[in-house]
Symmetry: C2
């Protein structure tokens, strides 16, 4: 079975679309999706975009919100503009990293993004984490402790290093072998590439 | 007949794809395309992106070239990476502005981009302009003189002001009423919007 690496940052807006629709799209094409949380902020900071791709540019920011809403509608996805942008995603990314090790990253991540984008329950907040973890029948305090263990922190740093080495500069990104596709609007193209 | 405003900068890489394929795509959906040359550089400079969207970010620049090549291939368009980026497009934009007034902007623009992207004959160069204008049975010297008349310069400035007012920050951009679509990969979405 062909494999598609799905690299994502929890604080990225367009990533909502891919988190919500990539599993179904991958299954329909017989591609196995591997979920790779990483931290985009350090990479953007190194590139000279410490403020992220939108905040310094009001016209681009306004467009992003409108485009995102239109595309969510096109894909039949619920959309409620979150109150806060960007969220603080470090802790969630660590939990996602632990989840990837243990095989529940997909369910956890879908739940985080769904709460953020349909109920304005911010990714990174205590409440968001508690609801997601409880929904997966996990003990939040126990999981949060394990997610902050040195080996998980190191694994997330290492994922971010790999992302940088792959040439990533945004989220969502899809990688097939060394071929990089950036943006939710490249999901279908990446899946086509994986099934060549 | 519904109308789609096609706003573009001659120096933009992704704009090649839209210049090459938008007329056919619009005709297939019964939409009338209006060609609007403008200058992106002043807008990007005001936004704090004086170096353009790619040059300060090597990873993003590398991705853009690869993505562009892949998408040209997907659309069945010839592609030869140009030697120089970005080209100096002021004079070409003035000729394009004159051409828009006189009704030959589409043919002129397609010819400019085709030479740039298939024969490495740079947009903005004397040679590119001479070949395009001669191909349209025009006298290059005469056209270049008229394209630098005060009213054409002013018309291009005014187009750039309109682009800014519409919230544009990149090329190609498509506008239906006040609805903005940015990027060649939004052409189909913009046409859908125009035919709603």
């Amino acid at each position: 079975m062909r494999k598609l690496d799905f690299w994502f940052e929890y604080g990225s807006t367009y990533t909502y679309l891919s988190v919500a629709r990539s599993s179904k799209a991958a299954a329909a094409t017989g591609v196995q999706l591997e979920w790779h949380p990483f931290l985009l902020a350090p990479i953007l900071t190194e590139l000279g975009m410490a403020q992220g791709p939108f905040r310094p540019y009001p016209a681009k920011m306004a467009y992003m919100w409108r485009d995102l809403e239109r595309r969510a509608q096109q894909h039949g996805l619920p959309y409620l503009k979150p109150s806060h942008y960007p969220p603080n995603t470090l802790l969630t990314a660590r939990v996602g990293t632990l989840a990837a090790v243990e095989g529940w990253c997909e369910a956890f991540t879908q739940s985080c993004f769904n709460l953020h984008w349909t109920q304005d329950c911010a990714i990174g907040s205590e409440q968001n984490l508690a609801i997601c973890l409880t929904g997966l029948h996990k003990n939040p305090a126990e999981v949060l402790a394990r997610a902050q263990a040195p080996e998980i922190k190191e694994r997330l740093r290492s994922a971010t290093d790999t992302a940088r080495a792959l040439g990533l500069f945004g989220s969502p990104s899809f990688v097939v072998d060394r071929e990089l596709f950036w943006g939710d609007d490249r999901l279908e193209e990446a899946l086509d590439w994986a099934t060549r």
